[in-house]
């Protein structure tokens, strides 16, 4: 199987190389009008088919690695280091992305899948797709070069074949790790598609904004994958790492956030280009930056540039990534300089108080957030270069610098939809802002009455109360603004059609799924912010609990029923059984664990969590007191965490709605199809067919 895998990778490289070269020659011939022995159309078609072939070959290589994992083929060094016989099936599959070489193979495989779909759908626009296909092949060649020559997943282990492997990192033995990395990678890799279309459209001076229409769904689906990937990662960190939080501003977490921020900016600013022919250069650079940041994120986790608990082992492939980044950036810059006159805006912003301005400021703030994250991630490297010593840039830095930027973004989320395109009059602003402002003021009063004191920022170094106060207030403003947008439109429909309000809201949403789907996404973002704001009121306690001893936190009392240990082929475990009481009534039983994995000889925490809408009761088995033999239990009471995961669900729903075609467009399409069918039926009838 390793031979088969290596051959498949080599074949994939050859086919991708052909797609790149033949595609480039064909497009060059089409652009210059110079024709060779084979017509450019035929050459481009062979390139397309070779691209499809490279998908088959890369899939075969990925299959070979998974096969080796499932068949315990420890002659393959990668399988020896990332799997073992007792590893459960799903985690053997996850071994594909648990190490450097495997995850690079996953990158290449997902890219080949995207390329396959793109090449199958080439009739959408044959020439533009040919450009995009060639650019994607260029990216694919880079990853296949890496896999064939720098990070080979099928290299053989030295010495005699081992009886068992070293096992998978225990932190990765969690159900979410089976879906979180592929989601994240689908997001990272997916941005290659809009990038390829944007670069291709610029190279061929593609007229109009059709490339944006073609890539809109690609971008949204990719953005959705990245969003899900990031939050699955946050949920994994919360459930597995056992420190009571879900986001630690680790460089690897930051690496996934940066392309998400620029991708979000791109999703907003393309609307300006579609509606008013503005910000064309900006959009092109946004998608270029998003792709470059996705590659940079991959580089960060693999080059040893920054230290992180999530990073792969330090290796020499950093040089490969730096070279690739420089090449991509040079191609982007060169193409932009050559074709920049093609990107002239058709309109300019006419007022500071307009929907266009709000998009512009939204973009600015998203980019500022992205810059802050990038700055914080790279500052230790800069500090070492200038001062000669590294510094740590962790959560306190981001809490002070990035959180205010995030809150400003939340504010813009609320006011943007209330402004009109081109220019908003004072009268309309007053009319649209009254209700959200009242909601904000009322919420502020209620929040203060509930004991949140924003003025504590002046008396303590803790900014949590202040930030959460602002977040709750702005959340009320945004929810009211979004709600009033729905109600206003639905009210008009209800008056015209006599439908009830709910049916009118559904019809309104179906008429413009993108706009109202977007509002649902904004609502989801607000819910996420509410969840994050709750972290300002986290409580924790750590106590040694013997049999029948208890600990109180918030409204809960945890009583230790028993503590014991167990073992199976994969791990040894110590755990405690804790009855949870609220108001004297038992609500649940929790069993926090500490596992020690046999193959990898590493410990892991299994958190026990009782989650409600109000708070999470999050319990960790911290260890055993060696003197008494009793378990040490750490308990967290984390308010509103469930809202974060609910908010993500709403974001997914909103994006799903935005992906559905508008009702009028769908009706028109079905009408066109019906007309075409009727016409063909008439033709058949005229020919005398039945």
């Amino acid at each position: 199987m390793p031979t088969f895998g290596s051959f498949a990778l080599l074949l994939a490289l050859a086919l991708s190389g052909y797609t790149l070269l033949a595609g480039a020659i064909a497009l060059r011939q089409l652009a210059t009008g110079v024709r060779g022995r084979v017509s450019p159309e035929r050459l481009a078609e062979t390139a397309r088919r070779a691209g499809v072939g490279s998908f088959v070959a890369t899939t075969a290589a990925a299959f070979a690695l998974v096969w080796a994992a499932f068949n315990n083929d420890f002659s393959v060094a990668y399988i020896l280091h990332h799997s073992n016989r007792a590893l459960p099936g799903p985690y053997k599959f996850a071994a594909l992305w648990s190490g450097q070489e495997g995850s690079l193979l996953l990158w290449a495989w997902l890219l080949s899948i995207y390329g396959f779909v793109l090449r199958l759908r080439h009739r959408v626009d044959v020439k533009l797709t040919a450009y995009a296909s060639t650019i994607l092949a260029g990216i694919q060649v880079f990853f296949l070069l890496l896999l064939n020559f720098a990070a080979t997943p099928f290299s053989l282990a030295s010495g005699p074949v081992a009886q068992d492997g070293f096992g998978l990192n225990p932190l990765l033995q969690y159900p979410e790790m089976v879906i979180h990395p592929p989601m994240l990678y689908l997001g990272y890799v997916g941005f290659a598609v809009p990038f390829a279309f944007a670069l291709g459209a610029l190279m061929m001076r593609y007229p109009g904004e059709k490339w944006i229409h073609i890539t809109r769904r690609w971008t949204m689906v990719t953005w959705l994958f990245l969003t899900c990937g990031i939050f699955l990662g946050a949920h994994w960190a919360y459930s597995v790492l056992g420190w009571g939080g879900y986001w630690g501003w680790d460089p690897v977490e930051n690496a996934s956030l940066m392309p998400w921020l620029t991708g979000t900016a791109f999703l907003h600013s393309v609307m300006m280009q579609e509606k008013r022919g503005m910000m064309k250069s900006w959009n092109v650079w946004l998608i270029f930056s998003t792709f470059l940041l996705a590659i940079f994120g991959t580089l960060l986790t693999r080059s040893g540039l920054v230290s992180s608990v999530h990073a792969f082992a330090q290796s020499s492939i950093g040089t490969w990534f730096w070279t690739f980044l420089v090449i991509v950036l040079s191609v982007c810059l060169f193409t932009f300089i050559l074709q920049r006159d093609h990107l002239k805006a058709e309109n300019k912003i006419e007022s500071l108080v307009s929907r266009e301005s709000s998009f512009l400021f939204n973009n600015l703030v998203l980019l500022a957030a992205c810059f802050t994250v990038l700055w914080g991630t790279l500052f230790p490297v800069l500090s070492e270069y200038i001062q000669g010593n590294k510094v740590t840039v962790g959560a306190p830095f981001y809490n002070r610098v990035a959180v205010p930027i995030g809150l400003f973004l939340l504010f813009l989320t609320g006011i943007g939809p209330l402004l009109a395109w081109r220019s908003s009059s004072f009268k309309s602003i007053r009319k649209n802002f009254v209700l959200p402002s009242i909601a904000g003021i009322v919420t502020a009063i209620v929040v203060i009455a509930c004991g949140v004191h924003p003025w504590e920022i002046f008396t303590t170094s803790d900014q949590g109360s202040f930030y959460s106060f602002i977040a709750f207030t702005l959340a009320a403003v945004v929810v009211t603004a979004v709600g009033s947008e729905f109600l206003r439109g639905a009210g008009v429909i209800a008056r015209h059609t006599g439908q009830n309000l709910f049916a009118s809201i559904v019809q309104l949403t179906r008429r413009n799924t993108r706009r109202y789907g977007g509002y649902i996404v904004h609502f989801g973002v607000v819910v996420i912010f509410i969840g994050i704001a709750g972290s300002a009121f986290n409580q924790s306690k750590e106590e040694e609990l013997g049999f029948r001893q208890s600990v109180n936190i918030g409204p809960y009392r945890l009583e230790c029923q028993s503590y014991s240990q167990d073992s199976n082929a994969n791990y040894d475990t110590e755990y405690a059984l804790l009855d949870v009481y609220r108001g004297g009534r038992k609500v649940t039983q929790l069993a926090p664990e500490k596992r020690f994995y046999t193959a990898s000889q590493q410990p892991s925490t299994i958190v026990a969590n009782h989650s409600t809408l109000a708070w999470d009761l999050y319990v960790i088995y911290a260890g055993k007191n060696p003197d008494t033999g009793q378990p040490i239990i750490k308990v967290f009471l984390n308010p509103l965490v469930a809202w974060i995961w609910i908010g993500v669900g709403i974001v997914v729903l909103g994006t799903g709605v935005a992906l559905v075609p508008n009702m009028t467009a769908a009706l028109a399409a079905s009408r066109n199809r019906a007309t075409a069918l009727a016409a063909s039926a008439e033709t058949v009838a005229a020919r005398g067919g039945d």
Partner: protein, 154 residues
Amino acid sequence: MSKISHVGRLIAVAVVAFLTMGSASTAVRYNDLGHKMMCVCGCNEILIECNHLGCPDSDRMLGELRASIAGGSGDDAILTAFQDKYGPTVLAAPMLTKFNIVAWIVPPAMLILGIAATVVLVRRWRLRAAAAPSAPPAPYFPAMRERIRRETEL
């Protein structure tokens, strides 16, 4: 005059009371300082959140932190002492000293500059649009009406 100084004194007392309201207790300071430092064992976790089994450093460091607070040292002095002992990476965020100030200043400065540049740019575009001769009134155009209807959705 005495009435004014009396009111002034009352305001001063109120301001001092407001500023010292909720001043940090030992537990709050321990939690606060514990969140401002990193565990040095290489786990990359905030000192007070380091939870891995058998960590060779976090318990000892937390003990030192408790002792420093009990010894009456100020927050800055404690952080400086830890920095001197364990190196600058022990602080979870750079202190406001020398080059490290740049870390704190650059992101907000970039945002403010960006906003200012955007405002100036939009104003310039607006002025240029106002100076340009206005276009003649558009003739009645059903396609445009249809587009407006579509874009306003209703």
